[in-house]
Amino acid sequence: MCFRTGPFSVRLTSDVRGFGATWQSCYSPMELLPDDMVCHLRISVMRERGVRRWLGPQAVFRLEGIQPFEPYPLSQAFPMFEWGLNWCIAMSSHYHLLLHSAVLEKDGKAVILPAQPGSGKTTLCAGLVGRGWRLLSDEFGIVRHSDGQLLPLPRAAPLKNESIPLLAESAPQLSFGPRFDRTRKGDVVHLFPPRESLERQLESATPRWIVFPRFQRGAALELIPQPPIVALTRLVGNSFNYRVTGVSGFRSMSRLIRSTRSFQLLNGDLAAAVDAVEQLLAEDVL
């Protein structure tokens, strides 16, 4: 089976029962590609052979026949595939500048939410999707060098632990995947990309804000403007491939900083954080 995810095409094979069904329910409105095309990545998600077939069955992720990391329990084939594909994409797209960030868009204006440990990036991202923002990606800010536009890569966003009930409550209209308990990243439920995100996955967006989220239990909301030099430094540290991309990376990075406004968003409450981002949009006169 071949499919497109944003700027990449993937040929996927699997013999893991249940994996296909989860994949379908996550990405179903997405158009499949013809079988005879040349794809970027050839990925397989297969049952481990040998005694492992019966004893603690496992699923193995392979890219071009190479197994880049250890197998997962068979029941966690879907999260393994999602993380594995992200890793493949991060390795194979040095012709773009790649940020480790969520990206959302509303009214033609995009906000970048860079990830940091404990930042609550995915939670805030899901909260914004619940308020009608278009999900470009939960994981990658893909900056095209030629025009600085952000390219979508709409994929399942893995919500972890406490954020699972929080989102199920505050945005019940969204669609969520099955629950995976005790994965290597804790308990995980994926927010499936809304239909509109998938249908518009070839439509780029113009960056407008960079918001560095920081979640702190009980903290009062604070939206603190960041001087460009601070934002630049933080974003360089957040990029998957800034060093690799050399001069083009530097140009794209400085254009991005020049054409956006940056903030640090300290928050202890999802609804208030979402409101703060909505406020940025409402006050934006351009």
């Binding site: 095409s9 005879d36 071009e64 190479i66 880049p68 991060a90």
Partner: protein, 372 residues
């Protein structure tokens, strides 16, 4: 037929590949770590627009990555040059670092993970001390056994790394393990190295550059460099020797003089079969007369090399068998039997202990080293 070998033998044919062949080629390229290398080769042979978009993008991505690694390698050479300028013995660049510093076409898009240099054995201690003073150090987790292995038996120091560098430096005092059955005249090889203009470094003379590449390929664990290193040898032969009979004879004469006829024979045999390298017939006959093993060994090696360098889709079992046999073979040649047993037992124990202690760790795709 393996698609990558066919394309390397005739790069212009890439424009005629069908989609199914491209699908296969892209997998072979990633496994061989040659996406950027083929990008450079195809640039010289076909119109980019005629290639599939996904293939172009993948090759370009890898070319950007490799350009970055080469930038880092040049920086490392810059750091080393201050030491090379101070010493009165030659600091000889080997393999990828030599190709890069000498600006050879074979360096284009060539992926390398470390920098290799050779100094005369008598200068090894001095060179190591200087490196340490300038900020290079050994890995913190270097085990006592590994250190012992390197210092007593190997032809190089344990890998070193400068605190500001992302690539490793391998310092050699010979081109082959001390314990190996193949004996070579390292003094004569060091003697023949030539200064590289505008740098404080030396590189091996042209013939030795080819011979070392052949030796490295044929002697390393399971012919580790694979088709990439074989293609290096092919390119070096085409660049340096072409159709020049005298040059080919000089290469073979040199192989005889330093004791490397056999590895050269194997490497050229494989390059003939895979890339249609055509040494002049007289030169080839001389090489066969001096370098060809017995009939049985010859036919087994022919087959193993073909399975290993150019595995055909659907025949993974053969490739795996070839890899195991070649692994045993390389160890057999490098160590006397008693030492081999000791080495393999030690490696086995270490592997088992590692598997036990690190179970469940380091296998998170997001914690993997960034950007391979």
């Amino acid at each position: 037929m393996n698609t990558l070998a066919a394309v390397l033998a005739n790069p212009a044919s890439a424009v005629d590949l069908g989609n199914a062949q491209w699908e296969q080629l892209l997998g072979e390229l990633r496994r061989a770590r040659m996406l950027a290398r083929l990008d450079a080769v195809l640039r010289a042979h076909c119109e980019e627009e005629l290639l599939p978009l996904a293939a172009r993008e993948l090759m370009r991505s890898d070319a950007i990555y490799v350009a970055n690694v080469q930038r880092a390698a040049r920086q490392e050479l810059g750091r080393l040059s201050s030491i090379a300028r101070e010493v009165d013995y030659p600091v000889i660049l080997l393999k990828g670092s030599a190709y890069l510093a000498a600006g050879l076409p074979v360096a284009q898009g060539r992926r390398q993970s470390d920098l290799d240099v050779l100094v005369p054995a008598s200068a090894l201690d001095d060179f190591e001390q200087r490196l340490r003073r300038e900020g290079w150090h050994f890995a913190a987790d270097l085990s006592a056994y590994d250190e012992h292995y390197y210092r007593e038996w190997a032809h190089e120091l344990p890998p070193m790394r400068h605190s500001r560098s992302v690539i490793e430096l391998d310092v050699h005092h010979s081109l082959i393990q001390r314990t190996s059955r193949v004996q070579l005249d390292i003094a004569s090889i060091v003697e023949a190295a030539r200064p590289l203009p505008d740098t404080p470094f030396h590189v091996l003379c042209d013939e030795d550059l080819i011979l070392h590449s052949a030796l490295h390929l044929v002697m390393s664990d399971e012919l580790r460099g694979g088709i990439r290193d074989l293609y290096d040898i092919h390119c070096l032969c085409v660049d340096f020797l072409g159709d020049d009979v005298v040059a080919w004879e000089r290469l073979i004469g040199r192989a005889r003089a330093v004791g490397l006829l056999r590895p050269l024979y194997y490497a050229l045999l494989a390059a003939r079969n895979l890339f249609a390298l055509r040494p002049p017939i007289t030169a080839w006959q001389v090489l066969c007369a001096g370098g060809k093993p017995g009939v049985l060994a010859d036919s087994v090696m022919r087959r193993l090399m073909r399975w290993h360098f150019a595995p055909v889709a659907g025949q993974q079992a053969r490739a795996a068998t070839a890899r195991q046999m070649l692994y045993l073979r390389s160890h057999w040649i490098r160590m006397p039997p008693a030492m081999l047993v000791r080495h393999l037992v030690n490696k086995c124990v270490v592997t088992l202990c590692d598997a036990r202690s690190s179970k469940g760790a380091s296998d998170d795709p997001q914690k993997l080293p960034r950007m391979e």
